[in-house]
């Protein structure tokens, strides 16, 4: 009777390898569209003698830099946040 029980247990355990686990699908998080826009080239100054005209272009370029800086910083923040969320699932 003992041998029969052992044999049955072994048989049952052998059957355990019969099924294969179903993989769980995970979708990659979408990136905000604002971050997908490329940074434009810096503006160039038209030939002029007026300092105010030069200054306007410089101010525009500074503004453009700040916008790009925001985007890059946000990319880094986005990556860190999404990575933390992704790694929290184990």
């Amino acid at each position: 009777m003992k041998k029969l029980l052992i044999a049955l247990t072994v048989l049952m355990i052998t059957g355990c390898a019969m099924f294969s686990p179903t993989p769980v699908k995970r979708t990659f998080p979408a990136v905000p569209s604002e971050l997908m826009e490329a940074c434009p080239d810096l503006k160039k100054t038209e030939p002029t003698e007026k300092l105010s005209e030069v200054l306007k272009v410089v101010v525009d370029n500074y503004g453009q830099y700040h916008e790009c800086k925001i985007k890059v910083d946000t990319w880094v923040e986005w990556y860190k946040t999404q990575k933390d969320i992704f790694e929290s699932v184990k």
Binding site: L11, G15, M18, A30, S33, L42, S52, G63, H66, Q82
Partner: protein
């Protein structure tokens, strides 16, 4: 075998228990056939069939237990993934709002500064004349490195 993962739990359980029950019943029935003269010639066959079904049933029961464990793990993981996906969406919305606000502020500041320049334009231009070389140098610095335009 992976196709079995599409079969609902209840059906799988019923089939496994059914096989086991049929096997045990047939095995037990094989002892009764001794007293039923028309079935006496089949006693051995019924007992063998009962034994096979019982063994197969037990084997399947082991498989079923593992399958259920996997399904529970999958369900648990799917729930976690759903929560993380929601968190991910929320984080995206938050980031999107913040980035929009920041860019809006930068644009507004730029407009204010441009207006400021316009107000003092005459003063600035009367005090200084820009040499063409200065504009060239500035444009050279503004050009994207490595790209000739």
């Amino acid at each position: 075998m992976w196709m079995l993962s599409f079969v609902p739990d209840a059906i799988l359980y019923a089939v496994v228990i059914g096989i086991m029950f049929a096997g045990i019943s047939l095995y037990a029935f094989s002892f009764i056939t001794r007293v039923l003269p028309p079935l006496i010639p089949y006693t051995g066959m019924i007992r063998i069939l009962g034994t096979i079904l019982t063994v197969v049933g037990i084997y399947f029961f082991g498989s079923y237990s593992t399958e259920m464990e996997w399904r529970n793990k999958v369900a648990e993981l799917e729930a976690k993934v759903a929560v993380s996906e929601q968190q991910s969406k929320d984080a995206n919305t938050k980031i999107q709002t913040v980035v929009k606000e920041k860019i809006k502020y930068v644009k507004e500041t730029r407009v204010v500064i441009q207006e400021h320049i316009k107000n003092v334009e005459t003063k600035i231009d009367s005090m200084c004349k820009v040499a063409p070389e200065a504009v060239d140098i500035l444009n050279e610095a503004a050009a994207t490195p490595g790209v000739k335009k």
